[in-house]
């Protein structure tokens, strides 16, 4: 079993490959998406298209499979030549493995370097190294939103007179931001994510970085967390940040900071700022990279 799934059994899908005339692709793609609840892949060749759909083998499998067979039978009744779908079983694996071959150590800020757990790296003086195995979780350090958040964390610890002692990282993914805070000086870091795959990846990374004493990761709901934090970090997407905004603000200690990232484009940044306009927060700084935005805010003392 791949290491990524040691915390749960791997999922299985029925993969359906269906080659059909181009004019039916729109309709059949829609129907397969509706039945399977997954998206589809399309491959064009000559005047035909192949649709690849995936049906998870879960408790609704039998009924969905019946609907797919009925769809194919219906299509065959209107076509001069019967379709020949192929059905194969696909076992979940770590599809990111292939990409990992290209994952290399990367200097993110003056202080922080992120490296893959499986590569050796010799840090320079004062350099902080975070070892990450992304598994199937967000946060490799290469994406602009992660880099922006890391830059603010670095700035808060190296330039602020009051270094955050307690940190909350919401939607932690690989725990890269939580680990950065711990390595820069936080004494207690709470990392949460509602995706159990991310929690598994995060816990492994925390272990690999020898930070189990200071960083704790779980799937605890934000609303159920107790206490306040000197620094709250959330690198997610704007719809989630908006939905969580009140709960996030509640978790910041008086005078504490909030770093928001995962914001794409100026309009999303404006919208999020408007959402927060009545909160007891001051926007300290906005940082951008490749059209991604990150905000640094401070709660009133």
């Amino acid at each position: 079993m791949p290491e990524t799934f040691s915390h749960r059994p791997p999922r299985q899908w029925l993969q359906i490959d269906l080659t059909l005339p181009g004019e039916l692709v729109d309709y059949v793609g829609h129907e397969l998406t509706r039945i399977t609840g997954c998206g589809v892949q399309m491959i064009s060749h000559d005047n035909q298209e192949t649709i690849i759909a995936y049906l998870e083998k879960d408790r609704d499998y039998a009924e969905a499979r019946r609907q797919i067979d009925a769809l194919v039978a219906d299509l065959n009744s209107r076509l001069p030549q019967a379709l020949q779908p192929s059905f194969t079983t696909l076992l979940e694996e770590n599809w990111a493995e292939n990409w990992k071959k290209n994952y290399r150590p990367s200097r993110i800020t003056e202080t922080i370097t992120v490296k893959p757990t499986w590569q050796e790296y010799c840090p320079g003086e004062g350099e902080i190294v975070i070892a990450i195995d992304p598994g199937m979780a967000f946060g490799t350090g290469l994406h602009s939103s992660t880099r922006l958040a890391l830059t603010y964390i670095d700035q808060l610890y190296r330039q602020s007179p009051h270094q955050p002692r307690t940190v909350l990282d919401v939607g932690t993914g690989t725990a890269i931001l939580a680990l950065a805070a711990a390595k820069l000086g936080a004494q207690q870091v709470v990392a949460i994510d509602n995706d159990i795959d991310a929690v598994a990846a995060a816990r492994e990374n925390i272990k690999q970085n020898h930070e189990t004493g200071r960083v704790v990761c779980s799937a605890t709901d934000l609303a159920e967390l107790e206490g306040n934090f000197d620094l709250v970090i959330a690198n997610i997407t704007v719809d989630v940040l908006t939905a969580l905004s009140a709960a996030l603000v509640k978790k910041i200690a008086a005078g504490g900071h909030l770093i928001l990232a995962g914001i794409l484009g100026p309009e999303q940044a404006r919208r999020l700022t408007r959402t927060l306009q009545d909160a007891p927060l001051t926007l300290i700084h906005t940082r951008t990279e490749e059209n991604w935005y990150s905000l640094l805010l401070q709660k009133s003392p």
Binding site: E23, A73, M136, D239
Partner: protein
């Protein structure tokens, strides 16, 4: 110098809901692309589009980087949403599931126009009418 393109991946995914499960994981994984980076960017870009299905074309470069463009939702998806139905007919000769007015066809054609290889709105409407007929929807005046 422009980056060398090694392939394209065409997917249809629900807006704001890309994740490493199929079809995204296997499709991008076999090209060695950063799956989570794609999911993050796609979700951020499409999160305002409700539960619509969004076609996306990913360009794969030789250095394992990628770019992508999202397109307008499939005509069938837009038709079903407008008519408030979820399921079409597999055999339109035997079974018709709904009726759509030509004016509604025009509205959908206007949305689809940027992605259709159509000279004018009339040509775009013909394409949408074709999608309606394929799904068992009757076009009426």
């Amino acid at each position: 110098m422009a980056k060398q393109i090694t392939g394209y991946i065409k997917l249809q995914i629900q807006a704001g809901k890309a994740n490493p499960s199929p079809p995204v994981g296997p499709a991008l994984g076999q090209h060695g692309l950063n799956i989570m980076e794609f999911c993050k960017a796609f979700n951020a870009q499409t999160q305002d589009q409700g539960d619509l299905t969004i076609p996306v074309v990913i360009t794969v470069y030789k250095d394992k980087s990628f770019s992508f463009i999202t397109k307008t939702p499939p005509a069938t998806t837009l038709l079903f949403k407008k008519l408030g139905i979820s399921k079409g007919s597999g055999n339109p000769k035997k079974e018709r599931v709904a009726k759509v007015k030509r004016e509604q066809i025009r509205e959908i054609a206007e949305i689809k126009m940027p992605d259709l290889n159509a000279y004018d709105i009339e040509a775009a409407m013909k394409t949408v009418e074709g999608s309606a007929r394929s799904a068992g929807i009757t076009v009426v005046d």
